[in-house]
Amino acid sequence: MSVEVRHIHKTFGAVHANDDISLTFADGRIYGILGENGAGKSTLMKILSGFYLADSGQILIDGRLVHYDTPRGAIEVGIGMLAQDPLDVGPLTVLENFVYGQPVGPLPDWQAARRRFAELAERLGFRLEPDMPVERLSIGQRQELEIIRLLALGVRVLILDEPTTGISAEQKSVLFASLQRLAREDGLTILFVSHKLEDVLELCDEVAVLRLGRLVGTAVMPVTTGELVAMMFGQALAPPSRRAATPGDTVLEVQDLFMASERVVMRDCQVCVRAGEVVGLAGLDGSGQQLLTRACVGLARPLGGRVLINGVDMTGRPYRDFLAAGVSFGAAGRLEEGLVAGLTLAEHFILTDAGQGWWIDRERGRQIAEERIAHYRIMGRPDSPIETLSGGNQQRVLMALIPPAPRLLVLEHPTRGLDVESARWIWEQILARCAAGTAVMFTSADLDELVTYSDRILVFYAGQVTEVPDARSVTVDELGHLIGGQRVGEEAGR
């Protein structure tokens, strides 16, 4: 089934997310839709899969004009999308998620559904337990479930939005193999959305590159990395320059940490972070990294072991004590965690200003806010309610709220969902603090980010923590195998 989009436009407020995009996709082929975060590729795919309605433009299937404005409508014409965070229902079991949305009667034939599910999973090489609640699966497994479900719905065009973020190298190779089989053997059209060049180069037959809402070029493989980079960025961007780390005293020391969540139990975890160094925490979602970060800032109470900050035992102390000890924490970089909708910019600075007394000095608050607004180039005024700022500016505020040189900076996914410019800016700020002697520890699902910025990398797998021997020379591919459970030093063959 071939799909054609013609002159698609879509705006959000002042942002032209899709600006006159025309593309054709033939059946049996795998297309890479390449572009940085914010380039407009997700918007285009959401239009194709019925989540958004284009402001103008047409969609043609096998040359025939089609109209739909719901995901259901898209499925009916044969287009299905696997979202980056799969749109499934956590407490429902795998089988229930599979059946839900299929054209069945009021009383589904559960036995038949079970057989059909097993059949499809078998064919694609996916191993999923049908009676497991989906909330206990990894992202990779949830993606597999979603692909099975879409295929059962008779989808002929399969869109995958950034499917390789947060999965291991093994899961990736299973995924790629099954996608290739679907294209070659079943003649499906596959649109593979990514900002990762190497994934597109490895998998796709053709590639379309978007930048700032516009289509900047298409190419048939093989193409060189250089050509793609030039199309994606206009010019190649080097990461912020880094001096060789000369770590100072130990700032954070974690001894025999014992913690547990519903998905993972972590025992005997030892971590040490020194002043001026960046330690990256790699691992699949829910492998224990978050347990560690939360324990190191006092947001979760360990079941055993000790957390020392500057040599002082802080185990079990509340978050505020950690703040007082010079720890700063950035949670996943989202508005829900860190900024208070309903408060103004100045009020945020007043709350975090130790110099404010019992009675608020509004003038001082306004001055500090203006200073930070200027320094961090935030588009907003001291009295702007925080929720009226754009996402990028909220990011800047979060950064501005972190003191200039904390002893320890703990960050979860510091650049998740940010465009390349913003991500770069964030890392400039982090590295500036690091140069001033801050110890940095961060988690990320983006292996590139881990490899680029970490002085040392700790790999989490099912609660086990191992250090990558030489973090400065590890490759993304090697790291991908490590987070999938392969031991350090083991052959990366399969």
């Binding site: 959401k46 989540f51 958004y52 719901t70 995901p71 259901r72 499925i75 749109l87 499934d88 229902v89 956590g90 407490p91 429902l92 229930e96 059946v99 839900y100 949305g101 069945v104 009667g105 009021p106 009383l107 589904p108 559960w110 547990a260 969540s261 519903e262 139990v265 079941l303």
Partner: protein, 323 residues
């Protein structure tokens, strides 16, 4: 004393009926992501409306229908103000709790303490003659039998049908439900209406059967809050919720029996439901179960998860807007 025990259990089953129906109704409502906080008021209003209608028409069935409609309208008002007018479910629900109770008291003021039509006891032939069980389960009025059927039907629809999948998905992750073609708004209206109607039936089952008549202050005052707490205790699962309602009624009966044989002051027996409410909510909400689960073997984890864990529907009380 087999038959004595059976008689006591039978009365517990009968007395628990309004709580069972109301808490199952609320369970359905909350499973689609809507909090109907007004239960305590709705139950009183429905009971009054049902009694007055039955009294005026001489027909208990008509009374039941009127009570049902009263409960349904209150629930729909909450959801309408939430979906169409973007107001907070809890705020509107709270106002309606007070308003419905006051309305019941004011409009029912001329109908207090008078006899009216009731639902008669209908022993079920054959089943009634089963020793013990016949007395416990099959010698009741129609509303009690309705609660049995309701319980089975709620469980079946929720966990075995396509509708149940949509119901649960809308309360857990409306965006996913939408992506699969479910109309989130319509689903919420439908099940909120059903849940509200059941609350109305529960109210009617007080004034037309279990505590026949209407009084000022209303005899069921407070039970709405108990029903809301039972939904939490029951972990939003119909079978556990119904079990909670029976357990609660049983313990309440036990407390008054103990009171009769000891020196314990009568008024303090009234405190029992509220102490129970706090204790049961503490049991399921304090994180104790989660902590136990983390450290227990897998088989015990499953047991704890199924019987004591209580996680609300993720989208409870929130609004859904398409991107």
């Amino acid at each position: 004393m087999d038959s004595e025990l059976a008689r006591v259990l039978g009365s517990v089953v009968a007395n628990a009926t309004p709580l069972v129906i109301a808490s199952l109704g609320e369970t359905i409502t909350e499973r689609v992501g809507v909090i109907n906080l007004s239960l305590d008021g709705s139950l009183q209003l429905a009971a009054m409306v049902a009694f007055v209608t039955a009294y005026a028409s001489g027909n208990a069935m008509l009374g039941l229908a009127a009570g049902l409609i009263a409960g349904l309208l209150v629930a729909l008002l909450i959801l309408f103000s939430n979906i169409a007018l973007r107001q907070d479910q809890v705020a509107v629900g709270f106002v309606l709790t007070l308003l419905a109770a006051d309305l019941a008291q004011f409009l029912g003021q001329n109908y207090t303490r008078i006899p009216g039509p009731t639902f008669p006891t209908i022993p079920i032939p054959l089943l009634r003659d089963i020793p013990f069980l016949g007395t416990v389960f099959f010698n009741h009025n129609a509303l009690v039998y309705f609660s049995f059927i309701l319980l089975a039907a709620t469980w079946f629809v929720m966990y075995r049908t396509r509708w149940g999948l949509a119901l649960r998905a809308v309360g857990e992750r409306p965006a996913a439900a939408f992506a699969r073609g479910t109309n989130v708004t319509r689903t919420r209206y439908l099940y909120t209406a059903i849940g509200g109607a059941l609350v109305g039936v529960a109210g009617a089952s007080y004034s037309l059967a279990i505590k026949a008549g209407w009084a000022n202050p209303a005899v069921m005052r407070g039970d709405g809050w108990i029903a809301l707490a039972i939904v939490i205790f029951g972990g939003w699962h119909p079978l556990r919720v119904a079990f909670g309602a029976y357990l609660f009624t049983g313990l309440r009966a036990l407390a008054s029996t103990i009171q009769q044989t000891t020196e314990f002051p009568l008024v303090l027996v009234n405190a029992v439901p509220w102490v129970l409410m706090i204790l049961t909510l503490l049991l399921v909400s304090s994180g104790l179960v989660e902590r136990l689960m983390l450290l227990s073997p897998p088989w015990a984890q499953r047991l704890l998860r199924n019987f004591l864990r209580s996680a609300p529907p993720v989208a409870l009380g929130t609004q859904f807007t398409r991107e």
